[in-house]
């Protein structure tokens, strides 16, 4: 491998508002072989620690940026020797490769390079089944570059699962150090294939035999880091939102959505589902928003260089509030293709990962539209601010009982209700188009979604 060319592995951009990141922990060392999709480094951003994955199988040649260092997005942080050098035509030279590498890895448009690879890729290697594609996304496997072992090189379930399996159980050096400090046995983490420092820090303290000096200094230091991060996060949120107000001529629409039909069917479906599989109303609302965005494509995309550019897929940004304060916005890819149950799984995973600081770079892809949902204890309504360069943001308030007129207009009736709002970009759409997105949600909540819930419940 000494003759191979190396590629630069750059500090990735993990969200529209990120311009620098700090290396928290390297999970690999020079000489290690890494598989596509494997987590190699944990990066601290203003919002959270993010697990960063590699996009191609390679051998680590050199670590360029050490733990604790802060570098701008695009800076080479490691050198890799790819398994299939032709797939990454980046020659060894100075800084430019960083930009080239980021572009190549984030752009799905590398078919030419892939074709020059080992020859199992191309069309046969593509995952065409939506079920497998979802599975691949769930397991964070790049569905466009899989080795197919099925007939005609077709990708089968086992191929996706194999690609997702980590190569043995590993404990990072930092995790080992922390385990010793905190008197935790490695066996306590036996359920994990990869144990990082964060896992050890998150684990409840073991026996009370931790030295007081060590345990007292650490929390203080962590509190200070947390404070700095909070301040930095607030500043970044402010910057993004100021830019939005400055650049985007917003219009706002609001509509009450009657959830009585949807929730009735949801209740029936949940009755037959095991506890862990129960679906919350919020998942249904996300389904409604994503599918409505598919039906009103003028709201699904970005404002780039003076014109609207529609997105081929509905990639839903989901605003999650962190318990420590602030928000993070992971993306649910192809959200309009998900069933309510799949949406619930995706939501649960993102919420848990966001809270534990275990989001991955693949969870932070670019969204084509964003949803903010205040949750059950939130306000009635949220008047949103668009995340540039997107052109629309859907907001949901808390689900509450409200009074509605009866159909015949003679009386009133109480129904579970949510206030849905749309913030639209007047450069891209007008209120007429935006209204369609809101009314689409009501018809989805009254028709398609209850039908799917009935199918889940096993009824007809």
């Amino acid at each position: 491998m000494t003759t191979s060319t190396t590629t630069a592995f750059a500090m990735p951009s993990l969200g529209a508002d990120m311009d620098e990141g700090r290396i928290v922990e390297w999970l690999v060392a020079p000489g290690d072989h890494v598989e596509r999709g494997q987590i190699v480094v944990i990066v601290q951003t203003e919002k959270s620690d993010i697990e960063v994955e590699v996009f191609e199988s390679a051998t680590v040649d050199e670590i360029l940026v050490g733990e604790g260092e802060l570098v701008p997005v695009g800076t080479p942080i490691a050198r890799m020797v790819p398994d299939h050098p032709s797939a990454a035509p980046v020659e060894e030279s100075e800084p430019e490769p960083a930009a080239a590498e980021t572009a190549a890895s984030s752009a799905p448009a590398a078919p030419a390079a892939a074709a020059g690879g080992p020859g199992v890729e191309s069309e046969a290697g593509h995952v065409t089944s939506p079920v497998l594609r979802h599975l691949a996304e769930e397991l964070h496997v790049d569905a466009t570059h899989l080795h197919g072992s099925g007939p005609g090189g077709r990708v089968v379930r086992a191929d996706v699962e194999r690609a997702a399996r980590p190569a043995g159980r590993r404990i990072t050096p930092r995790a080992r150090r922390l385990m010793v400090e905190r008197n935790l046995a490695p066996e306590r983490f036996a359920d994990r294939s990869l144990v990082t420092g964060a896992d050890v820090l998150a684990a409840p303290a073991a026996a009370p035999s931790i030295e007081p000096s060590a345990s007292e200094a650490a929390p203080e230091q962590r509190a200070a880091t947390e404070r700095t991060r909070q301040e930095s996060m607030r500043r970044h949120i402010a910057e993004l939102m100021s830019r939005s107000w400055r650049e985007i001529p917003h219009y706002h629409l609001a509509q009450r959505l009657d959830l009585s039909v949807a929730l009735e069917h949801l209740g029936a479906a949940n009755e037959r589902r095991p506890l862990a599989d129960r679906i919350v109303p919020g998942a249904l609302l996300l389904c409604a928003a994503a599918r409505a965005a598919r039906k009103v494509p003028q709201c699904n995309g970005w404002w780039h260089g003076g014109r609207f550019e529609g997105s081929d897929t509905v990639d839903l940004g989901l605003v999650l509030s962190l318990r420590s304060g602030g928000v993070i916005v992971p993306t649910i890819q192809r959200a309009d293709e998900l069933s309510p149950a799949e949406m619930m799984e995706r939501m649960t995973e993102l919420v848990q990962r966001a809270r534990q600081g275990r989001l991955r770079s693949s969870h932070l892809g670019e969204a084509s539209i964003t949803v903010t949902s205040l949750g059950e204890r939130g306000a009635d309504e949220v008047i949103g601010v668009i995340h540039p360069p997107q052109v629309a943001l859907v907001g949901f308030g808390a689900v509450r009982n409200e009074v509605w007129p009866e159909a015949d207009g003679t009386g009133i009736v109480v129904r579970p209700t949510v206030h849905a709002t749309l913030a639209g970009d007047h450069r891209a759409t007008d209120g007429v188009v935006g209204s369609r997105l809101l009314t689409q949600m009501q018809s989805l909540l009254d028709g398609a979604l209850p039908d799917e819930l009935d199918a889940l419940a096993g009824g007809t």
Binding site: G267, E271, L275, P281, T348, G375
Partner: protein, 79 residues
């Protein structure tokens, strides 16, 4: 294990930042600990794993406080 401690343990599992030693047992704990509906399902799942008791959605109103939840577990545990 004490039924109340079972509930506390489940809360801690889902929201490690909540100090259950100071959490009042006679108020709406979801409100008090700022737990959302996803957290709540996580808690129910943890309790189910620990006790085998699976709370149906229709019984959610019966387990708003830790005391009520503990009482619910005790009375349903016999089965």
């Amino acid at each position: 294990m004490d039924a109340r401690e079972t509930v506390f343990a489940a809360i801690r599992k889902v929201a490690p930042d909540v100090d259950t030693t100071t959490l009042p047992t006679d108020v709406d704990f979801r409100e008090e600990a700022e737990l959302d509906s996803m957290d709540f399902i996580g808690i129910l799942t943890a309790v189910h794993e620990a006790t085998g008791v699976e709370v149906p959605e229709t019984d959610y109103p019966l387990i708003t406080t830790v005391d009520d939840f503990a009482g619910y577990l005790t009375s349903h545990h016999a089965a």
